[in-house]
Symmetry: C2
Subunit: 183 residues, 2 copies
């Protein structure tokens, strides 16, 4: 059984995007990032993705077919299933889940098999952490300060959560830390 | 000439103390921390300390003589010089500075000689960063979430600041990252 791995790339002051939703300072060189052993390993071990509606519509949904590093089933948490059906391939399928985060994670785990499920988006992460659905957190720290924006660690019942550092990995300006969620 | 090194130990969600000022979850084992090569190196390279009034009075000032890892001149930023003179030794002197952070740092640099000046306390760090007085940041990250409390990265003019990662060091649960302040 795979794990459910949450987490995101944060600025040193804790933001996953600036006040305008811009993430470019957190990912200054996507091409370089995609070539890191870290991301290649994550691609090999990921069997499904759960993401929120906002994350899904940040780009053109049809572009996932060519551009997205994770060519696996994607489960999109939403209140309304869009009328326009996105383009899909045999490996990258898109499923809209309206029954909440527990259902989305369950479906993603079933699709992922022995591989991991990763969580994309601040709200999806927060909901999964609070529901006890998250096994690990993978936090990337970039040496920038955004000053304001969207935080990953908000709306989380911090007192209920204990973390254990598993691993640290450096690639370029990034520092990536993996934590096990122990309760 | 030594460097001015700011930074503090943060929870993963960015707090230097909880809402009650408690820092115990960030320093679960002070004895173990003091034995790390990292802190031993910091002790060897530190020639003076600048700290805010709040940090200085967190403990009993007289206890610095025995307990404090940095047995060097301490410069305390304050608006009012206390009447009671703290106990001092030949190496650990205490100077109250009422003329602001630039003056405190200048005096500390003079006292430190070739060694570094370190900054203690969130407000002292913020003032020094904003005044362009900080050469490096040393950030310790602990695998805990405090949920609320005092933040290091607040009241900082983030857009004016660029950081460059210098070094990562692991000791126990901590991950320490050093950054050069490049503007």
């Amino acid at each position: 059984m795979g794990k459910v791995v949450g987490g995101m790339t944060l600025s040193l002051d804790g933001f996953v995007s600036d006040p305008h939703g811009d993430v470019s300072r957190l990912y200054p060189d996507l091409g370089e990032l995609r070539n890191t052993e870290m991301l290649q390993e994550e691609i090999r071990t990921t069997g499904a993705v759960v993401m929120g509606r906002n994350s899904y519509y940040m780009g053109d949904p049809d572009s996932y077919l060519d551009d997205y590093e994770f060519q696996v089933p994607i489960f999109v948490l939403t209140h309304h299933v869009p009328e326009k059906k996105p383009k899909q391939t045999k490996t990258l399928t898109v499923t809209f889940v309206t029954e909440g985060v527990a259902r989305a994670v369950a479906e993603a785990k079933a699709a992922a098999g022995d591989k991991n499920v990763i969580l994309i988006g601040a709200s999806t992460n927060q909901q999964c952490i609070n529901a006890g659905l998250c096994d690990e957190l993978h936090i990337g720290i970039m040496p920038v300060l955004l000053g304001d924006g969207l935080r990953l660690f908000e709306h989380i019942d911090a007192a209920r959560l204990a973390l254990e550092k598993i691993r640290v990995f450096e690639s370029g300006a990034r520092t990536d830390i993996w934590f096990r969620v122990v309760r």
